[in-house]
């Protein structure tokens, strides 16, 4: 698996898109720091971008890489290699190269701006950690979609729909249910609903860490009570890990049964 990972990673590191992605974050980091002139504020703005963009890029890259390397995968399948190691190697290759573009692209401008001397370092680290988690989750979901759909166009369609659903539609539905059932106590439900969507979960984690939960009112207080504690933090990270592990297990399972 490590060999496949190495070559996939190497292959992607030399593709133009990795550089475009890297350059985008580099530029974003520099511009935000220049405009905000403040590390903490830049982190908040960055969060809003990352929460939406990282899943999108992860999904698109994952699907694109899978379909583009189809013939190469067939070459590998004829070699004495386990199927699970081929697909996990490719998945990790994509996910890690995307994560690296993210970490380096954002890290470099922030480090030069004086991140290590600032108090925002923990907020920033949390931002990067959730960014990496989102990359791992959405690339794994993308591989699942691509493995289940022979048709490229369908695969892309489903991938975009998935992103649209989790990034935008889910929030809409969530909000609607909260309004519809506003007569009932909803704090448990809203906590639960937040945990189910990795994008929402990441956003909440960062917001609460940034100590702006006061803006969230009563729900914010409930959230703070839960996510602010160590227990909440552990549960949140466990949920994120589960969001990574479950799709990966399905990749292994699905790839074993697939015909090429």
């Amino acid at each position: 698996m490590l060999k496949i990972l190495k070559y996939s990673f190497y292959d992607l590191m030399r593709s133009r898109w990795s550089y475009v992605y890297f350059a985008f974050y580099l530029l974003l980091g520099i511009v935000l720091l220049f405009l905000n002139n403040d590390l903490s504020k830049a982190v908040i703005t960055l969060m809003n971008v990352i929460i939406v963009l990282v899943p999108l890029i992860g999904t698109i890259f994952g699907v694109m890489y899978y379909y583009n390397s189809k013939e190469f995968t067939e070459l590998l399948l004829a070699q004495p290699l386990k199927r699970s190691s081929i697909f996990l190697g490719q998945y990790l290759g994509v996910a890690l190269s995307l994560s690296m573009s993210l970490i380096l692209g954002l890290g470099i401008p922030f480090v030069f701006y004086g991140l290590f001397k600032s108090s925002a370092i923990w907020d920033f680290s949390l931002l990067l950690i959730t960014g990496v988690f989102l990359t791992l989750i959405f690339t794994a979901l993308a591989f699942n979609i691509a493995l289940s759909n022979e048709n490229k166009i369908k695969g892309f369609g489903y991938a975009i729909l998935l992103w649209l659903f989790l990034a935008i539609i889910y929030d809409g539905i969530f909000l609607m249910t909260l309004i519809m059932f506003e007569d009932y106590p909803l704090d448990k439900l809203s906590l639960f609903g937040t945990m189910l969507n990795p994008i929402d979960l990441s956003r909440t984690l960062i917001l609460l860490k940034l100590d702006i939960s006061a803006l969230l009112g009563y729900t914010g207080a409930v959230f703070k009570q839960f996510f602010g504690t160590n227990f909440g933090l552990v549960v949140s990270f466990a949920t994120l890990v589960l969001w990574v592990v479950l799709p990966i297990l399905r990749i292994v399972f699905k790839s074993k049964k697939k015909d090429f």
């Binding site: 070559y7 067939e74 386990k82």
Partner: protein, 235 residues
């Protein structure tokens, strides 16, 4: 060498293989023939473990293929369409496959044989179809495995390379290897193969030598013999 029992495979409603029984003995060149969609590639891919059969059993060199991926160390496979990661250079691809399968020195002779030296530093995405096929052939033959499977090996090759390929196949046969070929070029099949296996509608219609096929179909030459099978069965 390869024994296949009662192999069934369906893709959706389309039954591609319906009960294939085939024994391939050690040594010699076997051609798998059949009209488009008769299941040639599916059969080969089943042997390689790329297609998972619905029913049936396959043994390669006495080892059941369901038991793991190690048996593929003994198989060299030339896929039908050669498409490699376009960012890699030829040299790197060869190095990588060596890294995955174990070291070998035969690749240098093969690179010489197919005059690939000037292309070693080129990216695979910039190569022509024929050159890609040559790289594909080098990758296939550089491991000295007892079973060689070639899916349409002639596609895109120029006449000189075709002659070299034929020589190479004969040389491999002389080493006592078993070679399995699919091809639509009947003259090529007639020239190289010792025995043919004819697939029709998911079953083995004929297995034997070319001269046996000619007597069976009462046709003077190989191409017409094949054509007569097809017309008699699809009339």
């Amino acid at each position: 060498m390869v024994s296949i029992q009662n192999l069934h495979k369906k893709f959706g409603k389309n039954e591609v293989l319906s009960g294939v029984d085939l024994n391939i003995n050690k040594g010699g060149i076997f051609a798998v023939l059949g009209p488009n969609g008769s299941g040639k590639t599916t059969l080969i891919k089943c042997v390689l473990g790329m297609v998972i059969p619905d029913k049936g059993n396959i043994d390669v060199l006495g080892e059941n293929i369901k038991k793991g991926s190690n048996y593929r160390h003994k198989i060299d496979y030339l896929p039908q369409i050669a498409n490699f990661p376009s960012n890699l250079r030829v040299k790197e691809l060869i190095k990588m496959i060596k890294d995955l399968r174990g070291n070998t020195t035969i690749d240098e002779q093969l690179i010489d044989l197919f005059k690939l030296t000037p292309f070693l530093d080129k990216k695979l995405g910039n190569l022509s179809g024929g050159t890609k096929q040559k790289v594909n052939i080098v990758l296939t033959f550089m491991f000295d495995s007892p079973l060689v499977i070639l899916d349409e090996p002639t596609s895109g090759l120029d006449p000189i390379s075709l002659i070299r390929l034929k020589d190479l196949i004969q040389a491999e046969k002389a080493k006592g290897k078993t070679i399995l070929i699919t091809s639509h070029i009947m003259s090529f099949v007639e020239e190289v193969s010792d025995e043919i296996v004819f697939l029709l509608e998911g079953k083995i219609y004929f297995k034997g030598s070319i001269s046996e096929l000619k007597t069976k179909t009462k046709q003077p030459d190989f191409e017409h013999a094949i054509a007569s099978i097809l017309t008699n069965n699809h009339a």
